[in-house]
């Protein structure tokens, strides 16, 4: 997203649609020295006092109030609330009344085996998702794009987006009905005299199950971005290549995949930057079924240790650690994207 870049470009190049900045065009007057506001054609523009600007923009400022209030209440103040990670927070004492313990909570976290189990699971699940879930939307997009009949294409796309709009509760419920202990597959196996397979309660195969669930739910949705990028590839390239004798696979290797390179790299880097957020509701719902050894991730650890177990400070410490590391990773991933010449999410401000 190039919000910041667009913003500064806009301010310098686009004619301001707010009329209080009048143009001063005394013929012989030279352009004002740098530092003054200039309009896009280089002619000097009258500078306005901030009081006038405030009066001019008062309605817009009023418009921003609900949003800023929301952000303050539900984002920035809670971020400050992370201070309890450095305290021994007791609910009846409040933040001001609880003792300060510095980094003790983080040390306790370090020596807490459940935390390491959660961290290990988070990374394992993230790797599975990267290997299995990342290529699937790409492959799907290539297949759908090569479908010639537009009718089939539209039907299939509609169908495949649907699971994205179902809640995780519904998705897990549906999986249970098909793969669960009393589900369709196991019932059929039992009728045929064979033993049942514990698809949904086996902790060892859980990463595979979780990734399959994620693919079922979101691969169709993730496919959209790739489809859009595929459509943006110039069709005449294919034509030229075919005229030169390139077959189907050579065209894909030399035109399609390079054309998708930017978006693949960007999404890959963002995905790696986001590695600690593997999901939450999906694992919370199956926590009892497979046990915490397989289903505990950092976010569920925060929930069970903090809210359920009453260890508020320790939970806050875990959440804070995850948030900070996650932010650093996203930043680093963004830098890597810049290094490779691709636009990242946050671009450096231009000029």
């Amino acid at each position: 997203m190039s919000q910041i870049q667009q913003e500064s470009a806009r301010e310098q190049a686009v004619a301001d649609d707010r009329p209080s900045e009048a143009r001063v065009t005394k013929g012989l007057r030279r352009a004002k020295p740098a530092g003054k506001v200039l309009s896009h054609d280089g002619l000097p523009v009258r500078k306005i006092s901030w009081k006038t600007r405030l009066r001019r923009d008062r309605q817009m400022l009023l418009m921003m109030i609900p949003g800023v209030l929301f952000l303050a209440l539900f984002f920035y103040i809670p971020i400050l609330g992370n201070v309890i990670a450095f305290q021994d927070y007791q609910p009846f004492l409040g933040i001001t009344g609880s003792d300060w313990v510095g980094l003790q909570n983080f040390v306790d976290l370090y020596f807490n085996p459940d935390f390491w189990v959660a961290l290990r699971n988070t990374i394992v699940l993230a790797l599975w998702q990267l290997l299995l879930f990342f290529p699937v939307p790409l492959g799907l997009a290539l297949i759908v794009d090569s479908l010639i009949s537009t009718k089939i294409r539209r039907w299939f796309q509609s169908l495949v987006y649907l699971p994205h709009f179902l809640s995780w509760v519904l998705v897990i419920a549906l999986f249970q009905q098909v793969l669960g202990g009393a589900g369709l597959v196991n019932n059929t196996l039992r009728d045929m005299g064979m033993g049942t397979i514990p698809f949904m309660t086996n902790p060892d195969t859980f990463p595979l199950l979780a990734t399959i669930q994620l693919v079922w739910k979101d691969a169709g949705w993730a496919m959209i971005i790739f489809l859009a990028s595929l459509a943006a590839i110039d069709g005449s390239l294919y034509e030229a290549a075919a005229a030169d004798g390139a077959g189907r696979w050579r065209r894909m290797w030399h035109i399609t995949l390079p054309g998708l390179r930017s978006i693949i790299v960007l999404l890959l880097i963002l995905r790696i930057g986001d590695i600690l957020s593997v999901g939450f509701e999906q694992f919370l719902l199956q926590h009892d079924a497979v046990g915490p050894g397989a289903a505990e991730v950092l976010d569920t650890f925060t929930y069970f240790a903090g809210v359920v177990g009453g260890g508020w400070s320790m939970g806050a410490a875990a959440g804070l650690a995850k948030g900070v590391v996650g932010a650093l990773l996203i930043f680093a991933a963004n830098k890597v994207a810049h290094r490779m010449g691709e636009p990242g999410i946050f671009q450096k401000k231009v000029g």
């Binding site: 919000q3 509760v169 098909v178």
Partner: protein
């Protein structure tokens, strides 16, 4: 017959007056049957994987006792469909209440969310005092999340625990939707706004009379994103709500279907249909609103996401 599929199709096309498939670009060679059948298998398999569970669930909810007992709990097609499961569920209050709570949350939440998002997006889309800092404040939320426990404490501090507002207010602003909307507003030609301003309109009037009518599509998309988010949320209810009368549909679904909790107390009827059909009925009730609304909306979603992804 010794003809291949391709030959038969070409013959059929020729009988309609065409010698080629007009949908295929000229430079593309027709695919071999092997390749086409692999594609067909993949597409068919995916279609089946999505349709089958939904069909299974709907059928089981409509099946009668005998068939359920015979099949061991799951049927693909009910031979004697009956609405007994639904009657039982609706005979007590809890499902109506849950549906009411979810509907309230979704409706009120979406309206509030649209209000906040539109005002913020419009205010930051024009060169305005404080516009840049506020924009940065919003974009920063994409980078970092405050964390579960501080949010819980905040909600508690605001006195919203165990009220329906704890399920509405925290979800009324999502930076992703904000970005989509702001991109759209920034692309509205300034001439239109200048013209309105020359006619003497104030900022509020410009928003109401010029910008909003132009933005109907984007507002529909963003509104739907928010609505789906509100309808599908279950964890915030688990976290903030203890009062059973305030449980939304998703939490009911989790308690009775995923966790397999006993419905006997809640329903309190002497003879009930087998539990699977009751559970499936709840699943269908949770599924139905999305299925019903989906066909009308999916083309809007498609456009909205592409706008957000490419422009944003």
């Amino acid at each position: 017959m010794a003809t291949t599929l391709h030959e038969r199709r070409s013959a059929k096309r020729r009988s309609k007056g065409l010698s080629y498939n007009p949908n295929r670009p000229v430079w593309k060679e027709p695919a071999s049957p092997f390749y086409n059948s692999i594609k067909g298998l993949i597409i068919g398999g995916i279609t089946l994987s999505i349709v089958l569970p939904i069909l299974l669930v709907v059928s089981t909810s409509l099946a009668d006792d005998k068939q359920l007992l015979a099949a061991g709990g799951f049927v693909l097609w009910p031979t004697h469909p009956t609405l007994a499961a639904y009657q039982t569920i609706f005979s007590s209050d809890f499902m109506f209440r849950a549906l009411g709570v979810s509907a309230f949350i979704t409706a009120v939440g979406t309206v509030l969310a649209l209000f906040i998002t539109i005002t913020m997006a419009y205010a930051t889309s024009r060169p305005v005092m404080f516009g840049r800092p506020v924009l940065l404040l919003v974009l920063f939320t994409l980078l970092f999340a405050p964390g579960l426990i501080p949010m819980f404490l905040m909600v508690k501090q605001l006195g919203l625990l165990n009220t329906v507002w704890s399920l509405i207010l925290p979800g009324t602003f999502a930076a992703f939707n904000f970005v989509v909307m702001r991109s759209f507003f920034m692309n509205i030609p300034t001439e239109l706004i200048e013209a309105a301003r020359i006619d003497g309109a104030s900022d509020f009037m410009i928003l109401r009379k010029v910008v909003l009518p132009l933005s109907k599509a984007v507002i529909a998309v963003v509104g739907l994103f928010y609505a789906v988010g509100f309808w599908n949320a279950f964890f915030n209810a688990m976290l903030y709500i203890n009062d059973q009368t305030l449980y939304p549909v998703q939490l009911v679904l989790r308690n009775f279907v995923v966790q397999g909790g006993s419905m006997a107390d809640t329903i309190g009827v002497a003879t009930t249909p087998p539990p699977q059909s009751l559970q499936m009925a709840i699943v269908v009730i949770a599924l139905l609103p999305i299925l019903v609304v989906y066909p009308f909306l999916q083309k809007h979603f498609n456009k909205g996401v592409i706008t957000g992804a490419i422009k944003g």
